[in-house]
């Protein structure tokens, strides 16, 4: 067995093993360390010695043994400190290491809910999820997040301490609480996905792995909650956006807006799977923000060229999304879609209303969309002012460069520069 296959198997088994060990011994904190050590041992031994007969049982046994050691030394330390030892070294009973993995999806769900517990900071939720559910090592997480290993270690340690202090049991929350907790999981997975697209100078092409990891986690969640429309829709949304990633970045690392992308580079399989998922989820309802966003991404992905985009449908979907979620960025995207259907003046009217919204009226995106719609409406002078305002507040060099290109183009006498299609990328 080659190392890559071992790694893939280990990553899949990681949450199952951790779930089984926590169920048996409690102590999420130390169980997580013990599981990491078992994974590490397997990654070194298996490629050499071959795969054990039951890899899952092997890992659970090794992790349990390691946990027992950890608990013993913890107990000894506590006794030394003259504290009452709280850890009982007795097993809780089920499940046995060789028990069939029937409850694995359930365990993985419980783990995800725990790692995304609302008492943790987003940064801690991300790091802990990637490690405990994704099976990534601290070094791998640090690399994926472009951060240092010490920072990641500290976040994970703090998160585990917070979970321990809160006394949250390793079990599904009460039904009344479940929906809110699941929403937190969806948000964290989408944060991980978007983090994969955030980049600093010269790193745009490096971070694809993190988006793929988010998709893997969303698949895991979908396996545990196949009937939840929002869960299916989040997976669909990620697939539909990620399907464009090869067309999204130029070789120099600059971003290419959707309207200018080479659509033959879009990943057909990802699009098909995403469309199938969201098509199945929508009629099931209840309607939610991820279903609407996935539907919008699907309409974009279905268009063979920018002109074929069904803007009427996109505008209608944004309209519904806006009613669910009063978000100014959604409102901006809605305005762009409306302008594509009913002309730039109709879109500008909507943008103008946002001019009083302090959440967005000083934002680069507000000015950039205004500039774009004003230009479409033929008002070059005011469009230039809007693009200049956008360039002034932009902090990202790629975006500044893009906006300066628009300014240069508008300053050139009419007819000398090609008119590009400069639609923002609502995906």
């Amino acid at each position: 067995m080659i190392a890559a296959e071992t790694e893939d198997l280990l990553r899949r088994l990681a949450p199952q093993v951790l779930g089984a060990v926590v169920r048996r011994y409690g102590n999420f904190d130390l169980a997580e360390d013990a599981t990491q050590e078992a994974l590490l041992a397997a990654s070194m031994q298996w490629p050499q010695d071959g795969l054990p007969g039951n890899p899952r049982a092997w890992l659970i046994t090794v992790a349990s043994r390691r946990l027992t050691d950890l608990l013993r030394s913890e107990q000894a330390r506590r006794q030394r400190e003259d504290t009452v030892a709280r850890w009982a070294l007795t097993e809780r009973g089920a499940p046995r290491p060789d028990a069939p993995p029937a409850g694995d999806d359930g365990d993985t769900l419980v783990l995800l809910l725990l790692c995304c517990h609302p008492s943790l900071s987003p940064a801690s939720q991300i790091a802990l999820t990637l490690r405990a559910v994704g099976g990534l090592s601290t070094a791998e997480i640090a690399r994926a997040l472009l951060g240092s290993e010490q920072t990641v270690t500290r976040r994970i340690t703090r998160a585990k301490q917070a979970i321990k202090d809160s006394g949250v049991p390793f079990a599904l929350p009460a039904p009344a609480e479940l929906e809110g907790r699941l929403n937190a999981v969806l948000r964290v997975l989408y944060l991980i996905f978007n983090e994969g697209y955030a980049s600093t100078a010269g790193t745009a092409l490096i971070r694809v792995g993190l988006a793929q990891e988010a998709i893997r986690l969303a698949r895991t969640l979908y396996a545990a909650r196949p009937d939840d429309s929002e869960v299916a829709a989040l997976l669909a949304l990620m697939l539909l956006i990620h399907a464009r990633h090869r067309a999204r970045t130029a070789p120099d690392g600059s971003l290419i807006p959707m309207a200018e992308q080479d659509r033959s580079l879009w990943d057909r399989d990802g699009i098909d799977e995403g469309i199938a998922l969201v098509t199945a989820a929508l009629p099931r309802g209840p309607i939610g923000p991820y279903q609407l966003q996935a539907a919008i991404a699907a309409v974009h992905d279905e268009a063979e060229n920018p002109e074929a985009t069904d803007w009427r449908q996109i505008a209608a979907l944004y309209d519904v999304l806006l009613r669910l979620d009063d978000n100014p960025v959604v409102a901006l995207n809605h305005a762009v879609a409306v302008s594509m259907v009913a002309g730039p003046r109709a879109g500008l009217e909507l943008v103008q209303r946002l001019g009083a919204d302090a959440r967005i009226n000083a934002d680069r995106r507000f000015h950039a969309v205004r500039g774009q719609l004003l230009e479409m409406a033929g008002d070059r002078t005011t469009a230039l002012e809007a693009y200049r305002a956008a360039a002034r507040v932009a902090t990202n060099l790629q975006q500044q460069h893009y906006l300066n290109q628009q300014i240069t183009r508008l300053q050139a006498p009419p007819g000398t520069a090609p008119h590009g299609q400069d639609l923002p990328d609502p995906g």
Binding site: A142, R143, L146, G147, S148, T200, A201, G202, T203, A204, L205, I206, A250, P251, D252, G253, S254, A391, T395, N396, L397, Q400, H401, N404, Q405, I407, T408
Partner: protein, 138 residues
């Protein structure tokens, strides 16, 4: 050992780089694209060799806020730098065997593309990171 590689640029240079003329003309599209491609390759190589710990580019100096402590009271000033003042623009933290190796990595930045007027006088600093390795304690 870990080392930090630091690069520097002024507000004017930033502006010219992202396509807005100032004292000097704006960078051409080709220069900008070449810079991006160079950085992608440079980072990819460091990542593959396992030497890259982290890297970040900083926004233009104009977005800086300076927080001064006047008799213990913080006072915030926006954009404290002069237009032509060269300030920190980005950094890499690399982990490698020796200062010489870190210097070698830094020297590769000499082939970073850009307008000739900048290339002939560009520089980068490399500094050891202050890390305490505990001595053997028996």
């Amino acid at each position: 050992m870990k080392y930090m590689i630091l690069t520097f640029a002024s507000q004017q240079q930033y502006q010219e780089m992202v396509g807005q003329p100032s004292e000097q003309p704006a960078w051409t599209q080709e220069d900008w694209a070449a810079l991006g491609a160079f950085m992608q390759a440079f980072n990819r190589e460091l990542l593959d060799s396992g030497e890259l710990v982290e890297t970040r580019g900083l926004s233009a100096p104009v977005h800086t806020r300076r927080v001064q402590f006047k008799e213990g009271v913080p006072v915030v000033t926006d954009g404290p730098y002069a237009e032509a003042e060269e300030v920190l623009a980005g950094y890499w933290v690399v982990e490698c065997d020796s200062f010489d190796r870190a210097t070698e990595i830094t020297a590769r930045l000499a082939s970073c593309p850009g307008p000739e007027r900048l290339r002939v006088r560009a520089y980068a600093d490399v500094r050891p990171i202050d890390e305490h390795q505990p001595d053997f304690e028996g």
